[in-house]
C-alpha cells in the first residue's frame, strides 16, 4: 500500500511554516541525523528513523537519493521488540508461583508482583526480535504538502511527532474542513464557518 505498491493508500498533510534557507543542506543534515539506526545486534526496545523508500536497509542515502524532482521521498522505519501479553502473563505467573513455593507464603503483595512482571518483561524483550514497520511519504516542496502512505492513526501520530522533531515543522492532516480553506474565497469561508449539518430526506 506504499508509494511503490500496485495500489496506494494515503492521506495528505499540509506543512506549516517556512522552509529554512539553504533548504537542501538543512534537509541533508536533518535526514542524516534522524536516519534509522539498526537494533538487531543490541537489546534496545525501539528504534525510529528514515530509510530509503526502495530499500529499508539503506539509511545512508548515497547521492541524496531522497531528493527526487521537487519532492523529498522517505520511508519512516520503526523497529520494536514486542512481547505478547499472553507470554508475559505466563512467565510472570510462573515466577510468582516459584517464589511463593520457595518462600512458603500464600500470596505476594502488589509491589512484588509488579516487580516480577517488569523483570520478566525485560527478559522477554531481550529475547524478542525487533519487528519492523515501514511507512512511505512524499513531501512536495512546491506546495508544501506531504502524502503519507498509511491510514493507521498510530502511525500518523508517530509521524507528526517525528517530522516536527526532525525538521522543526508541524504537519496538519487535511481533513475536509481544513482542506476547504485552500479552495474557497474569504466570503465563502465565512459562510462555511456557520454551516450546520443538513438533512437530505
Amino acid at each position: 500500500m506504499g508509494l511503490l505498491s500496485r495500489t496506494a493508500t494515503f492521506v495528505r498533510y499540509s506543512v506549516e511554516g517556512e522552509l529554512p534557507e539553504n533548504f537542501r543542506d538543512f534537509v541533508a543534515e536533518r535526514i542524516a541525523h534522524f536516519s534509522f539506526q539498526d537494533i538487531d545486534d543490541t537489546v534496545d526496545e525501539y528504534s525510529i528513523g528514515w530509510v530509503a523508500v526502495d530499500n529499508m536497509f539503506d539509511s545512508s542515502f548515497a547521492h541524496a537519493s531522497y531528493a527526487v524532482g521537487d519532492y523529498i521521498i522517505l520511508s519512516l522505519r520503526i523497529d520494536e521488540r514486542k512481547v505478547s501479553k499472553t507470554l508475559l502473563n505466563k512467565f510472570s505467573f510462573k515466577e510468582e508461583d516459584r517464589l511463593k513455593k520457595a518462600k512458603q507464603i500464600p500470596r505476594l503483595n502488589r509491589s512484588q508482583r509488579l516487580q516480577i512482571r517488569e523483570d520478566i518483561r525485560l527478559q522477554l524483550v531481550k529475547k524478542a526480535l525487533p519487528v519492523p514497520a515501514v511507512y512511505d511519504l512524499a513531501w512536495n516542496l512546491a506546495d508544501n504538502t506531504v502524502l503519507f502512505f498509511s491510514t493507521s492513526a498510530k502511525a500518523q501520530s508517530v509521524l507528526e511527532d517525528f517530522f516536527r522533531e526532525c525538521f522543526g515543522l508541524s504537519i496538519i492532516l487535511q481533513v475536509p474542513y481544513l482542506a476547504a480553506a485552500h479552495l474557497l474565497d474569504l466570503t465563502e469561508l465565512e459562510n462555511l464557518k456557520e454551516l450546520q449539518p443538513d438533512i437530505f430526506v
Binding site: 500500500m1 508509494l3 511503490l4 500496485r6 495500489t7 496506494a8 493508500t9 494515503f10 492521506v11 495528505r12 523508500v53 526502495d54 527526487v68 524532482g69 519532492y71 521521498i73 512524499a138 512536495n140 502524502l147 491510514t151 496538519i172 492532516l173 487535511q174 481533513v175 475536509p176 474542513y177 481544513l178 482542506a179 476547504a180 480553506a181 485552500h182 479552495l183 474557497l184 465563502e188 469561508l189 465565512e190 459562510n191 462555511l192 464557518k193 454551516l195 449539518p197 443538513d198 438533512i199 437530505f200 430526506v201
Partner: protein, 187 residues
C-alpha cells in the same frame, strides 16, 4: 484559513465538522447519477465518476452512531439507497474516476479524506523494472503525480460542492438531492 480554525483542536474539528465530508460524498453520489456518471468540472469539462458496489453509510454520533455496510455485485446499491432514505449519509465509498486518458479506482473515506486502495493509472514507466536510476526516478515521480492528480481532481469536485453548499443555490440543490433519494425508494 479562518481564524477559529487555528484555535480549534484537530480532534474537535473532526467531530464537529464530520458532516462536511459525509455531505460531500453523498452529494457526489447524487451528482454522478444526475447525468449518468458524467460530472462537469468548471474550466475542465466532463469527468466520469461512478460509484461502485462497496459503501459504508452512517447516521448519528457517539452512542447513537449507526452504520450500514453495503457490498456485493448483485445489490445494485439498493440497500445503500434505502439507507439514505433513513437519513444516513455516506462515510466511505468505492468509486471509479476517469479524467482524460487516465482512470482510477479508489475508496474515499469522508471524515478524514483518506484515499484507500487506490489503483493508479498504468503508464509507460509503470512496469519498468530496470535498475537505471533515472528510470526509477521517473517511475516514482509518475506514481506521486498520479496520486496527486486524483487528489486534485477530488479537490475540484469538493470545491464545486463547497461553493454550492455555502451559496444561495444550495436550497435548490438540496431539493434535487431529496427528490433523487425519494426516487430511489420507488425503484
Amino acid at each position: 484559513m479562518p481564524e477559529d480554525v487555528e484555535r480549534m483542536d484537530l480532534v474537535d474539528i473532526i467531530s464537529e465538522k464530520k458532516f462536511l465530508g459525509q455531505e460531500f460524498l453523498t452529494w457526489l453520489w447524487y451528482k454522478s447519477e444526475e447525468r449518468g456518471g458524467a460530472v462537469m468540472l468548471p474550466g475542465i469539462g466532463d469527468i466520469q465518476v461512478v460509484f461502485e458496489k462497496h459503501m459504508l453509510l452512517e447516521s448519528g454520533a457517539g452512542e447513537s452512531l449507526e452504520k450500514l455496510i453495503c457490498k456485493g455485485l448483485q445489490t445494485e446499491l439498493q440497500e445503500a439507497r434505502t439507507g439514505l432514505l433513513m437519513g444516513k449519509k455516506l462515510e466511505q465509498a468505492r468509486m471509479y474516476l476517469a479524467r482524460g486518458d487516465y482512470e482510477w479506482r479508489l475508496t474515499l473515506s469522508a471524515t478524514l479524506f483518506e484515499y484507500r486502495n487506490a489503483s493508479l493509472p498504468r503508464t509507460v514507466s509503470s512496469g519498468d523494472e530496470s535498475s537505471d536510476p533515472l528510470a526509477w526516478e521517473a517511475k516514482v515521480l509518475e506514481r506521486i503525480g498520479m496520486s496527486e492528480e486524483i487528489m486534485h481532481t477530488m479537490d475540484q469536485l469538493y470545491r464545486l460542492f463547497l461553493k454550492t453548499r455555502t451559496g444561495a443555490e444550495w436550497l435548490q440543490e438540496k431539493a434535487r438531492i431529496k427528490a433523487w433519494i425519494a426516487g430511489a425508494a420507488e425503484h
